[in-house]
């Protein structure tokens, strides 16, 4: 019963998301800023993928192509909003 309620796939996903959160904590140690940001981006994106694919079953429905295209488009809009704004307002691209 316990094995039936706690499938290995979900348990593995849960443990990996905990481990990834713990790994992200190394940015609090002393190291170059660029490495810190790289670690944060990698651990966050990996965790988001675990949720999306494993827990949200993004790839299991028959219209999975549309689901992935929709998410990709939303991410495109989001990233352009974030980095486009940073270019202008923070990194001073206009001057």
């Amino acid at each position: 019963m316990l094995k039936q309620l706690f499938p290995i796939k979900h348990v593995a996903g849960y443990i990996s998301s905990l481990v990834l959160s713990a790994v992200a904590l190394v940015v609090l140690l002393d190291m170059p800023f660029a490495s810190k940001m790289a670690i944060l981006v990698v651990t966050a994106v990996l965790q988001a993928s675990v949720q999306l694919v494993l827990f949200m079953h993004a790839g299991e429905s028959e219209d999975k192509k549309s689901v992935y295209i929709n998410i990709a488009y939303a991410l495109f809009v989001g990233l352009v909003t974030i980095f486009g704004t940073l270019f202008i307002f923070v990194w001073g691209w206009y001057s």
Binding site: L40, D63, S66, T81, V90
Partner: protein
């Protein structure tokens, strides 16, 4: 209503499949919403005026607790859907109850954190940094609060009607919403708290 018995209950009818796809479209819009809130925060993070900065006000312990609670709740709502697909109504409901309790605990810590911030002199109008921080965290927290209500209503429906095409569909869509909140939190944890503390 054409029922496809080869699919799990929540996908069983065309209407169900459309609802799930429609919710994915909504989540796409939510990604855009949170992207704009993160944008504002990233632009204004160093404009803390005469108020405290992130490094001064963030504390690791409550944030780690919040992260642990939300990650665990995302795991348990996944288990709820797994149990639902096995047709186990009691276990499905039990996992949803655990999820909501973990969500409530998360919200409790977040409210306590907001209380501490205000106590230490960081209110919504202290600085541009403060406004953007509270807006980002508050929008996520409001989503969690709404999720608690939504989940409770689904529990009542499960109790009343059992697992059928309609309630299985609603539970599955709720699980998508809850996982999404966890994804947003991961980015808040990484790029607001850890980046602020490093």
């Amino acid at each position: 209503m054409k029922i496809d018995a080869t699919q799990p209950l929540e996908y069983g009818t065309e209407e169900n499949r459309n609802r799930i796809f429609g919710f994915w479209l909504f989540l796409g819009a939510e990604i855009a919403l949170f992207a704009t809130l993160f944008t504002v925060y990233f632009v204004l993070v160093n404009r803390y005026a005469s108020g405290p900065s992130g490094a001064e006000i963030f504390e690791l312990t409550p944030v780690l607790l919040e992260t642990f609670l939300l990650l665990t709740s995302s795991f348990t709502i996944g288990l709820a859907i797994h149990a639902m697909r096995l047709g186990l109504k009691k276990q499905t409901m039990m996992f949803i109850v655990i999820t909501l309790l973990l969500g409530a605990a998360f919200l409790g810590i977040e409210i306590y954190e907001f209380f501490t911030y205000v106590h230490e002199g960081l209110t919504l109008s202290t600085s541009a940094f403060a406004s953007s921080l509270f807006t980002l965290l508050g929008t996520h927290g409001a989503h969690v609060a709404f999720g608690l209500l939504w989940g409770s209503v689904i529990l009542i429906q499960l109790k009343k009607h059992g697992l059928d095409h309609s309630t299985a569909n609603k539970s599955f869509i709720f699980s998508l919403y809850w996982h999404f909140l966890d994804v947003v939190w991961i980015f808040i944890f990484s790029f607001v708290y850890l980046k602020g503390l490093m």
